[in-house]
Every structure is written in C-alpha cells, then in structure tokens.
C-alpha cells in the first residue's frame, strides 16, 4: 500500500520533517542511554589504569578491527540506498539495503565468534573464568565485564537495526515508499548510522588505547 499523507499533517513534507525530527530526538535518547556506560568506562579507567591497559592488550584486535570496517562499509551502502530511492530507483535501493543487512549480520557473526574466542581463553563476564585466576588485577575484571556489557548492548542495537532495515527493505521492494516519500528509509538509515558511530567509539576504547604497561 502506497505511503500516504497521514490525516493530521498538511502535506508529505511536513510529515517527513516531523518524522526526521522525531528520529533525531530518539537518537539523542540512544546516545544518553549509552552515556551511562561510557561514563562508567571513563570512571573505571581512571580508577584502574593498569588493569584497563592490560585488558586492551589481551583483547582480540583482529575481530574488532574487521568489524569496524564491516560497519563503515554497511553505512556507506545504506546511505547510497537512500540516495537511489530519492531518484526512484527502488530495485537498486533494495539491493543496497539488502547488502547493508547482510553486513550487519556479518558483524553479529564475527562478534559471536569473538565472544566464543574469549570464552575459550577463559574470559567470561563478571570476572569469572580461568583468565582471571591467572591475572588477578580487579581492574581487568571490570574491563572485560564492561566490554561484554557495552559490546553486547551494541550488538542488540545492530540486531534491531537489521530488523528495522528488513522491514524497510520490504517497503522499498514493494514500492510502498519511493521518490515521492523516501523519508521512512532515510530515518531507518540514520538509526543505522548512529549504531555505526557508537562502534566508532567502542573500538578504540576496548581495542586500541593502551599505555603499553605490562
């Protein structure tokens, strides 16, 4: 069914503006949702500088870095998909959105493999596992628990993003949105971009920043 102007809006442009405004405010709430965990990270890093450095050095850099590239490329594809939809090229747009979803699922697959790798190393959330019997710094426990918490919450958002984009893919493919009303895909895309931005900050905090203290 073609996207139409809802009864209480004057025209599609006003409706699109309201929808984008609403999405940006919602993104603001997502930023504040993660803020608490970022605040905990910074606080605990100051309280346990050595533990956090050692934690970064024991983290799985390859998995994390590949995932960074995966998300950046996926953002590109969905942004291009919005552009194509504005030009009325629904088929091309649908393929691009589909690629984005695949990359999102790839991210989740790599993340799962990474978690299993951690478990194999004896690193579990809550500071349990044989790794923590060998490395007793409590800061290390906090590092990895925060790691599982923040990347886990992020992964849930990636999953939700895949769901939202799948729903939008259906709308693009069945031509219920298109050049006359591209904004539903645009707002789905900016949600995806925010998920990418959060990872842009998670990656250095958990994989890159170390004072090389051993």
């Amino acid at each position: 069914m073609r996207e139409h102007v809802a009864g209480h809006f004057e025209d599609i442009e006003k409706q699109a503006h309201a929808a984008r405004f609403g999405m940006w405010v919602f993104l603001g709430t997502e930023v504040l949702f993660f803020s608490g965990l970022f605040a905990l990270y910074i606080g605990y890093r100051i309280e346990h500088p050595r533990g956090f450095d050692v934690g970064v050095e024991h983290n799985t850099l390859v998995y994390g870095s590949v995932n960074t590239a995966v998300l950046l490329v996926s953002s590109y594809f969905v942004a291009l998909g919005v552009h194509e939809l504005r030009l009325g090229r629904n088929r091309l747009s649908a393929w691009l959105v589909g690629l984005t979803i695949l990359l999102g699922l790839a991210f989740l697959g790599i993340k799962t493999a990474e978690y299993l790798h951690h478990f194999a190393d004896g690193i579990y959330p809550g500071g349990t596992g044989r790794f923590f019997e060998e490395h007793t710094d409590p800061g290390l426990k906090m590092f990895f628990t925060l790691y599982f918490c923040m990347t886990g919450l992020h992964a849930i958002h990636v999953l939700v993003g895949c769901g939202v984009l799948s729903f939008l893919l259906y709308k693009v493919a069945t031509r219920s949105i298109g050049a006359w009303a591209p904004h539903p895909l645009a707002i789905g895309a900016i949600y995806w971009h925010l998920v990418d931005v959060i990872w842009i900050f998670l990656w250095p905090l958990f994989y890159l920043v170390t004072g090389h203290v051993r």
């Binding site: 009864g7 309201a18 405004f21 609403g22 949702f33 608490g36 905990l40 906090m142 918490c149």
Partner: protein, 547 residues
Amino acid sequence: MTTVDIAVPVPARRPTPRESYLNVAHTVKSWALTTDHKRIGILYLVTTVFAMALGGVFALVLRTEHLSPGPTIVDAYTYNRLFTMHGIVMVWLFMIPSIPTAFGNFLLPIMIGAKDVAFPRLNLLSYYIYLLGSIWVLIALWAGGCDTGWTFYTPYSDHSPSAVVPTVFGIFILGWSTIITGVNFIVTTHTMRAKGLGWFRMPLFVWAMYGVSIIQTLATPVLAISLLVVGIDHWFDWGLFDPARGGDPVLYQHLFWFYSHPAVYIMILPAMGVIIEVVCTFSHKNPASYKAIAYSTLGIAFVGFATWGHHMFVAGISVFDAAAFGVLSMLVAIFSAIKVFTWVLTMRRGSVVVTTPMLYFFAFLFLFVFGGMTGVAVATQSLDVHWHDTYFVVAHFHFIMVGSTMTAWLAALHYWFPKITGRMYPERMGYVGATLVFSGFFMTFFPQFLLGNAGMPRRYYDYDPQFQPLHVVSTVGAWILGAAMIWTLTYLLVALFRGERAPANPWDSRSYEWLTPSPPPKHNFVREPVFARDPYDYTVPAEEVHA
C-alpha cells in the same frame, strides 16, 4: 484593585446532547485501539488513579506500622518492601505520568489548535507500554516485591533476596513510555501549532508540557541504563559495582541521580503549568509576566540536570564535587522563585473567584514555598550532613510531591472536569475535599520535619520511644488524607454521571481549550481554529462557542 468572590454556581444550561469524542463510538475496540489523544488521555487518567490508590494503600500501612515502636502490624522485611514499592508505584506509575499523560495528552493539541499529536499511533503504543510496565511491577509485587528502596543502591541491590529483577525490568519498560510521550509532545509543539500561533502566544500549560518533555526524553534513558545494569548484576552476578571486582558503588549513585534529580522536575513542571492556568482563569487576568513563566520553565529544565550530586553529599564524593553541586542546586531554585512571584503578582488587580481549583492553588502556594525552602536548606551541604537520610528529607520531598504536585493534579482534575466530561462537579463538596486534603496532608508531613530534625532516620522499621507522639500525629493525618482522597474521587465519580451539564466555557476563561464545546468533538474544533487574540486577554469578552 483585587476583588475576591466565593464561586457562584453556574446557571444550569442543558444544550441538546450532540456528538463528542465520548459518544462518537461506544465499543470496547473503539477505546482499546483509539488513536484519539483525548481518549488516550482518559485511559491514562483512569490507570494512574488506580496506581495512586495502590501507592496510597502502601502508605497507610506504613504509617499504621509506625503507630508504635517495634512490630505493630508487619515485620521488618515486609516494611522494607512496602516503603520500596510505595516509592516505585507513586513515582513511576502515578506521579510522573499523572499530569502530562492525562491532561497533557488531552489538552496539548487543543491548546495549539491541532487535530491530534504528531504521532497518534505512537501515542497509543506509549499507553500500552505504560500498561505493560505497570503490570510487570504488579507481577514483581506478587513475587514479593523489592526491598532496596526506590533508589536501588548498590551493592545491596546486587544481592538482595527480594524480587529486584522483575521490579527493575518493569520500571525499565515504563521508561520507554515516558520517552515516547516526550518525543511526541516535543515534535507536536514544534510542528503542529495552528497558523499564526507563535511560541509566545501559546497557553503556558503548553510551555510546561514542552519543558517536561525535554527533561523526560533526555533523562529517562540514563535511568534505563542504570536499572539495566542493576538487573544484569543481580541476575548474572556481573559485579559492575562490586568493589572486589574493581567496582565503585558511588558511580551507581551518580548514574541513578543523574536521572532521578531531573525526575523531580518532571514531577513539578506540569504542576506549575496547571497552576498558571488556574491562577489566570480565576483571577480573570493575564500573567504578570508571560515570558518569566516561559523562560523559567526552560531554566528549570536545563539547570535541573546539573544538580544531582546533592543527593550524594554524604556518600563519599569529593569536596570539590559537593561544592559544585551545592552551588548549582541553589541556582535552580531561582527559577521556582520567579514563578512563585509571578503567580502571586498575577492575582493583583484581578477579580479573584475562589473555586475548588483556586483553593487547591492556595494550598499549593503555601506548601510549595514551604517545601521549596526546605529544599534550599538541605541543599546546604553542611546542614544536609545532619538531615540526610532522616525524616526531614522525607518531609521535604512529600511537601513538593504531594503538597504541590498532587495538589495541582487535584486542581487540574477539577478545573478541566467540565471540558473533559461535559459536566460540572459539585462546588461545595470540592471545598470540603480541598480543606480535608490540605489538613490531612499538613498533619501527616509537618511533624516529619520535627521528627527528622530530632534524629529519626528514614526507612527505619523501629524507633526509639521518644519519637512516638509525632509518629502518631503523622499517622492520624495520613488517615485523614486517605479519607479526603476517597471523598474527592467519590463525588467526582458521581458527578461524571449526575453532574450538571457544562457549557463550553464555565469559568469565563480566555485560554484556547475553552473555545471548543464541552466535551470537545472528535477532531477538537468544529472549524479550523484561528486564534485571533492571545490566551490571556481578559480585556475582551469571551467568545460564544457554537456546537
């Protein structure tokens, strides 16, 4: 000069019953799946009243327990769970939704000349999320309830044997309802005002809804993450605040209060929005300064975010941080003071009519100033060392939450009763109710200032015998307050079916919601509204409203 009148009964007029949002459809489905903001407001109103009754019952049991030291009617573990669930039900199931979801939903679109909010289906979703969260909290109650206090302080909340996880999960769900409502109101106010209706010509109640929406949208996500972490820690034992695993319990308090201090402004801003409308209407005068009210609303919304540490003065934060929070907490009080002066000056040279809402305003004025000044007192760090975690603080916040917000909620219930239901409430019963509410309230909570100052700690099941007399007075007051609430809700319920039919504008107000029939038609206005004058122009007569 100012004139004062006792309310004159409104002459009976019985317009022929016509189609309104209430009778346009009668099926359960038309209510359960409504996207009409007015019906959603009613759904919220009914549910929040039940929540208030539940929280009130908990309070009465708590107060009755305190009639004597030692065990009276419940044991210590039950007492702890009761005060926790009282706080949770009152704050999240009643106080925070009370005015915005019922009156905000009903009135905001009408006051700006819109047909509905920006996202009507999201609005319905927000109600069902609220309902789901409330039911979840009830399930937690059935599972025994939580005993950590509504603040869920770590490390106790990580290990408490009570039903912590279902409780925090229920509140987590409720939070999303608040956020969705906030986003909806913000976008509505920005994008759906009638042609020509600028920001400084809207009714001030809209400013209050806008301000509260900013706070609740931005603050609630931080509560969500704080409670999520408590839930994870409790369920999975991840120890994010466990010192043995590198954790710092004070950081939990930082995160919790970052939300929970703005939360108290979420509870007071809507009340202030009701008050300015009531004062202007029943003084037949424009506000002493429209911009003072509008800007102070924004001031509270933003500066209120910077004051949370005053809940943590004795928790172990640094001297520097405590000092910073102390100063910031003083600053935010300035905006409330601006409002108090504006309300009082508004009455000057007006023709004051003392109706039930106006009586509630007088109660509000006294109790808010009293409670607010004691807030400034506990914001003084050196004094707070003595009063923290005593009944002094308990009295302070109940003066604001019950004495101010709930009083304003009662004022709103009466003021907008004709508009929402199309009927008048019985004025004399309103006078009795307001007097009983004020008396019961004061008798309950004033002695608690004295108790706290004398050293009675809060959240304590037992107490030393010297505190008993004041506890007894407080408990008697609580029973009077409970009776007053039953009295009020009863006559309002009867008036719903038997009250005199109300005209479009029974109060001779100039605010825009009175330009449409009582109750309003489904699409709010019969014709697309053009607001040719400002909402507080009492120099012209009120327009005739044709159904």
